[in-house]
C-alpha cells in the first residue's frame, strides 16, 4: 500500500513539475496568465517559508512580492538541470528572506530564531505541505522529517531557516565544524532516502 502510494505521488509530482517548467517558459515570454497560475501554485508554500523566517506578515509579503517579480524577470534563466521550478522558487524565497533580515541588521534575530524549535507545532495545526498538497502526501513527508535525529534536524534547520553558515552553526552549538558537517550530510541523505519516489 505504501509502495503504491509512493508510486502514485511520484507520478503526480512529475506532472506538476512538467507543468511548472511549461509555466516558467511561458512566463519568460511575458505570459501573465502563466505567471498568475504559477503564483497560485506556489504562493502558500513560499509565503509560509518567508513567514517562518521573518515572523512578520508584512515583511513576508514584501519578500514574496520581490520573489515573484524576480521570477517574472528571471524565468528565462531557470535551469531544469539544477532542480525543479518549485525548488528554485524556494531557494529564491529563502535567500530573499535571509537577505531581508541581514539588510535590516537583525543578525541577533537570526541567532534567536535558530534557538527555537522550528517544527514544533500545536496538535492539529496544518503544515505548509498539508495546505498545498492535501492529506496523504504530507503525512509521508512529515513522518520522514519527524524521524530525523534531533541533532541532525537542528543543524539543518539552523542552516536553512536561520541563514547560518556551517561555521556559525558550529560556534552557536559549540560543536566541532566536522561534527556539524557530518550531521547535515547524514540528515539530508536520510531525508532524501526516505522521500525517494515520493517527491
Amino acid at each position: 500500500m505504501v509502495l503504491f502510494k509512493v508510486k502514485m505521488f511520484g507520478d503526480e509530482n512529475q506532472t506538476v513539475v512538467d507543468q511548472d517548467v511549461a509555466l516558467l517558459r511561458s512566463i519568460s515570454e511575458g505570459d501573465r496568465g502563466a505567471f498568475s497560475r504559477f503564483y497560485e501554485q506556489h504562493c502558500k508554500l513560499l509565503f509560509s517559508i518567508a513567514f517562518r523566517i521573518l515572523n512578520d506578515q508584512k515583511e513576508a509579503e514584501d519578500v514574496l512580492q520581490e520573489v515573484f517579480l524576480q521570477i517574472w524577470d528571471k524565468a528565462g534563466s531557470y535551469n531544469p538541470a539544477l532542480g525543479r521550478p518549485g525548488s528554485w522558487a524556494v531557494t529564491l524565497t529563502r535567500n530573499k528572506a535571509i537577505d531581508h533580515i541581514r539588510a535590516h541588521e537583525r543578525r541577533s534575530r537570526l541567532l534567536e530564531s535558530a534557538s527555537t524549535e522550528i517544527l514544533a507545532r500545536a496538535p492539529g495545526a496544518a503544515t505548509a505541505n498539508e495546505a498545498v498538497h492535501g492529506r496523504a502526501d504530507p503525512e509521508l513527508v512529515s513522518s520522514a522529517v519527524a524521524e530525523l535525529p534531533a541533532d541532525q534536524r537542528k543543524a539543518i534547520e539552523m542552516a536553512f531557516f536561520s541563514g547560518l553558515t556551517q561555521h556559525e552553526i558550529s560556534e552557536s552549538l559549540n560543536e566541532p565544524l566536522g561534527t556539524i558537517k557530518a550531521r547535515i550530510r547524514r540528515g539530508m541523505l536520510k531525508l532524501r532516502e526516505r522521500l525517494e519516489g515520493v517527491l
Partner: protein, 270 residues
C-alpha cells in the same frame, strides 16, 4: 560512488550554508557532473519537504493584485520607439498625423532655440550652423506637415486630440521640452520629450494631467529618458479625465507618488 566530501558540500549547498567562494566553486563542479546534479536534485526535494513542514500561513488576498499592478506599472514606463504602432488604445488612423503634429511643434521649438543660441553664444557658431541646417531641413518638413494638418483638421480626425507644449522649469535644463498629444475620447495620449536630464536609478519622472474638474492632479505614469534625454511614450491616466487643462512633469522617487511634489516641477504647459 560519491565521496563524503562532495555529499557534505551538496547538503550545505542546497541549504544555502556555503560561503560565496565555496558556492561558486561547487557550482562550477556541479555544472559538469551529472551524478552530482542527480544528488543535488534529490537533496533539493528533501530540503523542500523540510521547508514545507513549517506551519501553514497565507498571504493577504490583495498581494497577487499588488504584484500584478507592479508589473503593469513597469510596462507603463517601457518606452522603446517602434517604427510603427497599432492597437486599440491608440488608433492607427490618427497616429501618423498626431506624430506629424508633434514633429511640427518640435520643429518650431528647435528653431526658436537655435535663434536664441545665435544671439547668446557666438563661440558656438559651428554648432549653431549644424542646427541651422537641421532647422532648414525641418522647415521644409514643416510646410508639408502644416498642409497635412490642415487636411486632417478638415476631416475632423484631430477634433478630439489636444496638443500641449510643455516648457522646462529647470535652470540646468533650459532646452528641455515636451509635447503631449491627448485623445480625450480614447482617454490616452502620447508624450514626447527632448533634452531632459537622465536620472539615477532611484528616481523617476512622473507625468500628471491637470483636470479643472478634478481637485488633484491625476498621475499618468512614470518614465525615464534615454542617455540623450529623449523619450516617447504612450500614457493612460489613473482616473478618467474630463478636460485635460494642463500637463506637468515632476521628479519623484522610483515608482512615483500618489500626489506630485510641487517643488520638483520639471516641465509644465497646456
Amino acid at each position: 560512488m560519491m565521496d563524503e566530501r562532495r555529499e557534505e558540500l551538496a547538503g550545505l549547498y542546497v541549504l544555502g550554508a556555503l560561503a560565496p567562494a565555496e558556492q561558486a566553486e561547487f557550482e562550477a563542479v556541479l555544472g559538469r557532473d551529472p551524478e552530482l546534479q542527480r544528488l543535488v536534485a534529490g537533496l533539493y526535494a528533501a530540503r523542500d519537504a523540510l521547508a514545507g513542514a513549517v506551519l501553514a500561513a497565507a498571504p493577504s488576498p490583495g498581494l497577487k493584485q499588488r504584484i500584478l499592478a507592479e508589473l503593469a506599472a513597469r510596462d507603463q514606463k517601457v518606452v522603446p520607439l517602434p517604427a510603427r504602432e497599432t492597437g486599440r488604445d491608440f488608433p492607427a488612423i490618427w497616429l501618423p498625423w498626431a506624430l506629424a503634429a508633434a514633429a511640427l511643434v518640435l520643429c518650431v521649438v528647435l528653431y526658436q532655440a537655435e535663434s536664441g543660441l545665435k544671439a547668446k553664444v557666438r563661440e558656438q557658431a559651428a554648432r549653431i550652423e549644424a542646427l541651422n541646417q537641421m532647422a532648414d531641413a525641418l522647415r521644409s518638413e514643416t510646410n508639408m506637415l502644416q498642409q497635412a494638418v490642415a487636411v486632417l483638421r478638415q476631416t475632423t480626425k484631430l477634433a478630439d486630440v489636444r496638443i500641449a507644449l510643455l516648457n522646462s522649469l529647470l535652470e540646468d535644463s533650459p532646452k528641455a521640452v515636451a509635447v503631449s498629444l491627448w485623445d480625450n475620447q480614447q482617454q490616452s495620449g502620447v508624450f514626447v520629450v527632448q533634452n531632459l536630464k537622465p536620472l539615477p536609478t532611484d528616481r523617476d519622472y512622473q507625468l500628471w494631467v491637470l483636470d479643472p474638474q478634478n481637485p488633484a492632479p491625476v498621475s499618468a505614469g512614470v518614465f525615464q529618458v534615454d542617455p540623450q534625454g529623449n523619450v516617447r511614450l504612450q500614457f493612460k491616466p489613473d482616473k478618467r479625465i474630463n478636460t485635460a487643462g494642463k500637463f506637468a512633469v515632476t521628479l519623484e522617487p522610483k515608482g512615483g507618488l500618489p500626489a506630485p511634489t510641487l517643488k520638483n516641477l520639471v516641465l509644465m504647459g497646456g
